[in-house]
């Protein structure tokens, strides 16, 4: 059995946080499988209280160009996922350009660190707004489109093993990600009558620009997390996932093969949370 080849030809996918890293990898994965892919990111704005640079406007243009090099149609949109008017306009732009939206992947996320007695209100707000409110707004406006048209739909939120376990220094991030697990369960029930499935993917640490920046700014912090949590996977020598491991899960959940799976927190973590 080789790697599964999915066929998303005719489908329109929208992926947030797609300027680079995991979002870009998913965008290219769906493009290779024949989908039309809309990609969005924050552009050259900087989120408050985030200790690293997020993907830039030129990074996002790079993703769009890479999609088109694969022969797929694409469009790129600057969006702040915490702003409802911008999210509504993003969904409308996708539908205006491609006529439909079949698969909404909420991938945009930010992270910072601090013990509860150090964590600032600005850190809390930025993480909870992007990581929890962002997927809500994207789901809300994608769902309004999906329930009004024929055919099935998919909402996929990139969550984290932080949605399942506690990690010191991450009260805001764990709260947001645990919130996503509850969010997808509820949305799954609300949207099941419209043949729209709603699932989260919970990866462990993915080798990505976000990780690079965190290693720079917080080496000591990560060493302490590693000490408290043990190894990050059960496979010897494997500390991080590669983006494609999450891309494969997203493609599977988006495919017809997962049509009876909804409301789950599908965990792709090399066994991190089962030990």
């Amino acid at each position: 059995m080789g790697t599964v080849a999915y066929d998303f030809s005719g489908d329109v996918v929208l992926i947030t946080g797609a300027a680079r890293g995991l979002g870009r990898d998913m965008a290219l994965g769906f493009a290779r499988s024949g989908a039309k892919v809309a990609v969005s990111d924050l552009g050259d704005r900087s989120p408050e209280a985030v200790p690293y640079a997020t993907g830039s406007e030129s990074d996002l243009a790079g993703t769009a160009a890479a999609i088109e090099e694969l022969g797929a149609e694409s469009m790129s949109i600057d969006v702040d996922v915490t702003n409802e008017a911008e999210v509504e306009a993003m969904i409308a732009a996708v539908i205006e350009r491609f006529g439909r939206l079949d698969i909404m992947v909420s991938n945009a996320g930010v992270i910072s660190g601090g013990r509860v007695w150090e964590l600032t209100e600005a850190q809390w707000d930025s993480v909870v707004d992007v990581d929890l409110k962002g997927p809500f707004l994207c789901a809300k406006h994608a769902a309004r489109h999906m329930i009004d048209r024929e055919g099935s739909g998919r909402l996929i939120t990139i969550c984290s093993t932080s949605g399942l376990v506690g990690i010191p220094g991450q009260a805001h991030y764990q709260s947001a990600k645990h919130g996503i697990v509850g969010q997808v369960k509820t949305l799954a029930l609300e949207l099941a009558p419209y043949d729209v499935t709603v699932n989260a993917i919970c990866p462990t640490v993915v080798d990505s620009p976000m990780l690079d920046h965190l290693m720079e700014v917080g080496q000591a912090y990560f060493q302490e997390v590693a000490r408290l949590c043990g190894s990050s996977t059960v496979f010897p020598g494997v500390d991080f996932l590669e983006p494609r491991d999450v891309t494969h899960a997203a493609q599977w959940l988006a495919s017809d093969a997962a049509r009876y799976v909804t409301g789950t927190a599908f965990t792709v973590d090399g066994g991190f949370t089962c030990k």
């Binding site: 059995m1 790697t3 599964v4 799954a188 029930l189 996977t233 010897p236 965990t267 089962c274």
Partner: protein
Amino acid sequence: MQVAALVTGAGGGIGRASAAALAAGGTNVLAVDLDPDAAKRAAEEVGLAAAAAASTTEGGPPGEIVGFGCDVADVAQVAAAVATAVDRFGGLDVLVNSAGVMHIDAAETYPAEAWDRVQSINAGGIVNCCQAAFPHLRESAAPAIVNVASISQLRGQPGLLAYAASKGAIESMTRTLAVEWAPQGIRVNAVAPGHVRTPMVEKALADGSLPTADLEGWERRIPLGNRLADPTEIADVVTFLAGPAARYVTGQVLVADGGLTINGTYD
């Protein structure tokens, strides 16, 4: 590269659909069932269907599928099944543990022999198959075990004392084996199906032991489409968990129930 799979409970339902899906993807399959005739019949019918499908698609050739009678509760019979798969296909990459039985009875008078039978097949059968397969899986480039659990171990249901407990054992074993055999690269996951339209359900409907009104009650409570799963929909989960795209998925119990248990109950 995965070339060979052993699927238990392959005479019908989820096991048969899983064997068919693996064969359609090019994997050779030993289709094992307690009933040797059912195993051989399934292998023959699935093989013909796979050949027909392959002639109309661009995919590679289907895998060979061979039926084999085996009681998974019997260590010697399991050893013979594994040896047959390895001899025939040159190794073993995937083990799908789908064999299972159900006995419904009141908890306060649940017969000890029924308890023992359910545990020895549903949970003990997995131990037997995993132990026999381990030396061969260890040699595979992409080894994977997929166990068929249930939603019965997640929520209480009257009458299912032994069945629910056996499925709980499967969930625990899935995590234990995932951690213990990770150094050998063996991934171990489970699928937890909700209500599935298996031959067992069809037969119960036909003979009246499952009243149509009960089935309709199940359907009403299933959010996604108000319908039971087709066995192929569970097989699609099995093949993803078994395949290389899930190379860092291990120790997971993936619920595939159309959203039935999301709200915390069967109801």
